[in-house]
């Protein structure tokens, strides 16, 4: 009996969660405004309770999927009894309704985490932060209940079986990519709430930035991993080896990332130096607003036309209203409460302050460029000026030079000091790195590719110019230590976080540069027994066949691959699948990954005479793209572990023996 009622229980839990969110949104904020401790104390239990009930709702939806309850419309439309259990589990967020529920679950989860880990913060600050998070949660729960209820039942014609999950989504990528991405998007709500709370409380000092920094880093790390997973997924799933398409949906995730990166740096300046206060608040608001805007762009159908017909226009309108209220209200509070007087904390041309200012300006220009390119067709269309497309050539031609300029300053950043430093000292420190970066960068394309290539040189010089000065800086910092490794251990975790983050950028740049310029792609006709050579590898088709998967039929092929005459040989098995329930064909790529190159084989079509068209690609350094992103994310997380924040969390120093002076370099 109870099992049959699971969807109703879930629905009911959502309603309770909405009520709790409403209390969380109103009472603590009112308490903070009227200084009533009891009212303020409502925030924590409400946040925890709300999370619990959203979790129950989420578990109910998952249970409906697992139990193949096709009387639930959402399950019937997006699942199938033949689907393996792990895809049933992830199919929950493979559709609009379920993914908004996941989004709300995470939002409630972040709010709950803030409630748990903010015991040492001033009472009114916590009350305000939780109140603001409660408002955001409330908006999304309302959105679910009003327009996107995942528990809706099919009263008539309950299907025997479900329509199946889109084959593109039946993949490990769906299991990991959306949750990571959403954790990032949603995570920026915390720094947003802190910023608004600081504005409301009139306490725009360094304190709020210190509290908000770990949360921001964590959200940013999730978003970084989420974007990288999306890129990796598209790379192996779509079958033509692209890893970034500048599609509006991708841009929607890149926007909060760019602005979040700027935010991380500007938080550092505000915390350390007390300057850029209004600017940091504005960035915090912007970053979360861009997350919300991404949701609007993806779900409303304004940019992705084909979704429009499957979509309820009411949804787009609802999100727009939600977006407009949240953003307009916070920008209004910003305009009214941001400090009137800008504090002139002095710094000179050559200082970390100035470099971080430049970093922020460049990142903002990048953000605006991506935003403009993404919505420009929409703007023209809504002005009746016709339809145009803005795609990779536009973005690349602007993004690449901006990135190169950014790298010039990134190289100086870690070695710089706050306030001012002498140009000659900096030059003495960095000239060798500069010469080495230039020399290696200019020679690299000659050695690797056999001919000179401006873009490759630019990329390599940029990447080395990030890495070499940083190595030099680490060397300088450890020179006085008894041993090199002892010295490395003494560097603060925040410093290590910065090093890893910047190293990650360099690694990604190398990956982008090499794979964009040295990919070898050949479309070939292959029959069993035939050998083709691509990039020094011999691909021999040994077998053609077919097989039956759990919910698809597949044409299969086996290729024997060997490098040169004596190389180790291995097999690759690309497939072409036909999914039974949807009738959709899919290319299943065969990949041979490696740190320095991927081999990538996709099966095209049957050419009739026993031969197949195959696409064989050699993609050097493609893994570095995602490796770099992982390094960046781990840098962000490592910085959280710095003891400044641990002290903040009210715990004892973990290792009393390892006493350090507060590190000047612990920033960025």
């Amino acid at each position: 009996m109870l099992i049959k009622m699971i969807p109703e229980i879930g629905h009911f839990a959502l309603i309770i969660a909405l009520l709790l969110a409403a209390v969380q949104a109103v009472v603590p904020l009112a308490g903070a405004a009227t200084r009533r401790p009891l009212w303020m104390a409502y925030g924590r239990p409400m946040a925890m309770g709300q999370f619990l009930f959203v979790l129950i709702a989420y578990a109910c939806l998952t249970a409906s999927y697992m139990l193949d309850d096709f009387s639930v419309a959402n399950v019937a439309n997006n699942s199938n009894s033949l689907l393996p259990w792990y895809y049933k589990f992830s199919a929950v967020w493979g559709n609009h309704e379920g993914s908004v529920l996941l989004w709300s679950l995470m939002l409630a989860g972040w709010a709950c985490a803030v409630a748990v880990f903010s015991r040492d913060l001033p009472r009114d600050m916590v009350a305000r932060v939780l109140g603001i998070l409660g408002m955001v949660c409330m908006g999304f729960l309302l959105f679910i209940l009003v327009t996107s209820n995942p528990f809706e039942r099919l009263l008539l014609n309950i299907p025997q079986d479900g329509a199946d999950l889109n084959p593109l989504l039946q993949d490990f990528g769906l299991v990991v990519h959306p949750p990571m991405l959403y954790m990032g998007y949603v995570g920026f709500s915390v720094v947003f709430a802190f910023a608004i709370a600081a504005l409301l409380g009139g306490r725009l000092d360094a304190a709020w930035t210190r509290w908000a920094r770990p949360w921001t880093n964590l959200a940013w790390a999730f978003l970084t991993v989420g974007i990288a997973l999306g890129s990796w997924w598209a790379y192996y799933e779509l079958g033509w080896g692209g890893w970034w398409f500048w599609d509006p949906v991708e841009n929607a995730s890149l926007l909060p990332w760019l602005s979040g990166t700027a935010l991380i740096h500007s938080l550092a300046v505000t915390e350390k130096r007390g300057s850029f206060k209004s600017w940091t608040v504005l960035l915090a608001i912007t970053t979360f607003s861009l997350s919300l805007m991404g949701t609007f762009l993806v779900r409303s159908g304004v940019l992705t036309s084909v979704h429009a017909f499957a979509n309820d226009p009411a949804r787009g309108f609802f999100i727009l209203v939600l977006l407009a209220i949240t953003v307009a209200l916070s920008l209004l509070i910003f305009a009214l409460r941001a400090p009137r007087v800008s504090q002139n904390v002095g710094f000179s041309w050559l200082s970390r302050d100035a470099l971080l200012l430049i970093n922020n300006i460049l990142l903002v220009i990048m953000t605006v460029t991506v935003l403009l390119g993404t919505i420009y067709p929409l703007i023209l269309d809504s002005l009746g000026l016709g339809k145009i497309s803005v795609g990779p050539p536009y973005f690349n031609s602007l993004f690449v030079p901006l990135t190169v300029i950014m790298c010039v300053f990134m190289g100086l950043g870690p070695s710089s000091r706050w306030k001012r430093m002498s140009a000659s000292a900096l030059a003495r420190k960095l000239w060798m790195s500069g010469v080495a970066a230039l020399a290696i960068g200019i020679l690299a394309p000659l050695v690797y590719g056999g001919s000179w290539n401006l873009w490759v040189s630019l990329g390599i010089v940029s990447a080395l110019w990030i890495v070499l000065p940083m190595l030099r800086d680490m060397f300088d910092k450890t020179r006085n230590a008894s041993s090199f490794f002892g010295g490395l251990r003494k560097l603060s975790l925040a410093y290590w976080g910065m090093v890893l983050g910047h190293l990650g950028v360099a690694v990604t740049i190398i990956g982008v540069t090499v794979v964009s310029n040295y990919t070898i792609e050949r479309n070939v006709r292959m029959t069993p027994g035939e050998t083709v050579e691509v990039a020094g590898y011999q691909f021999t088709m040994t077998k053609l066949g077919s097989r039956r998967g759990p919910n698809f039929l597949a044409d299969t092929s086996t290729l024997q691959v060997q490098r040169g005459e004596n190389g180790r040989s291995f097999t690759m098995n690309p497939e072409k699948r036909l999914y039974i329930a949807t009738g959709m064909p899919m290319t299943q790529v065969a990949l041979r990954p490696g740190l320095f190159r991927d081999l990538y084989v996709a099966m095209g079509e049957d050419l009739g005479d026993g031969s197949w068209a195959m696409r064989v690609q050699y993609k050097p350094f493609v893994r570095w793209l995602w490796l770099g992103a992982l390094l960046m994310a781990s840098g962000g997380i490592m910085a959280i572990a710095d003891k400044r924040y641990r002290r903040l969390a009210g715990r004892r120093e973990t290792q009393p023996g390892q006493i350090q002076t507060p590190s000047r370099e612990a920033t960025a």
Partner: protein, 164 residues
């Protein structure tokens, strides 16, 4: 219909578009063609051209990535025109005449796209100006008050003045 598919909107949307227009029976006939090129320069031009033209049917894909039949036709036309010795600009014009400006991923500079191309450049210049102005004003501030005690006192005063 599934809605999220964060980065996979394109291919799924293609499939859906094909169904919408009723092409489902020829959907996803893979776009892997075997073409011979006389020289690598022409091959590169072919890649650049097909990579910068948008498939008019699909959601958001270049014709070289797309499995739609019209993309295959367009690739073939680009190939034929290249073999015919036409210049890139002629080939682009040829396509735009038939399918409209919409297919250009690299929008041409014209009245309605000045802002698209101009804004990032204008912003970069504005950013440069901003850096110069800010650093100049702050450099003076740095020169004026330097001792830590003074700085602390100043901060104190400023903080006290601000309304709580």
């Amino acid at each position: 219909m599934a809605m999220i598919r964060p980065f996979l909107g394109l291919a799924t949307a293609l499939a859906m578009a094909l169904m919408l227009l009723g092409n489902s029976s020829v959907a996803m006939a893979a776009g892997i063609e075997i073409r011979e090129f006389d020289d690598p320069v022409m091959e590169q031009r072919y890649r650049d051209l097909t990579g910068s033209m948008r498939c008019p049917l699909c959601e958001n894909q270049a014709i070289d990535d797309s499995d739609a039949p019209i993309s295959a036709d367009m690739r073939q036309r680009v190939y034929v025109l290249l073999q015919d010795g036409r210049a890139d600009i002629e080939i682009v014009d040829h396509m735009v005449q038939r399918f409209g400006e919409y297919i250009l991923y690299n929008p041409r500079l014209e009245n309605r796209t000045y802002l698209l191309w101009g804004t990032p450049i204008a912003l970069t210049l504005a950013g440069l100006l901003l850096v110069v102005l800010m650093v100049r004003s702050r450099r003076n501030a740095a020169a004026r008050a330097l001792s830590p005690e003074e700085r602390a006192r100043l901060n104190d005063l400023i903080n006290r003045k601000r309304p709580k």
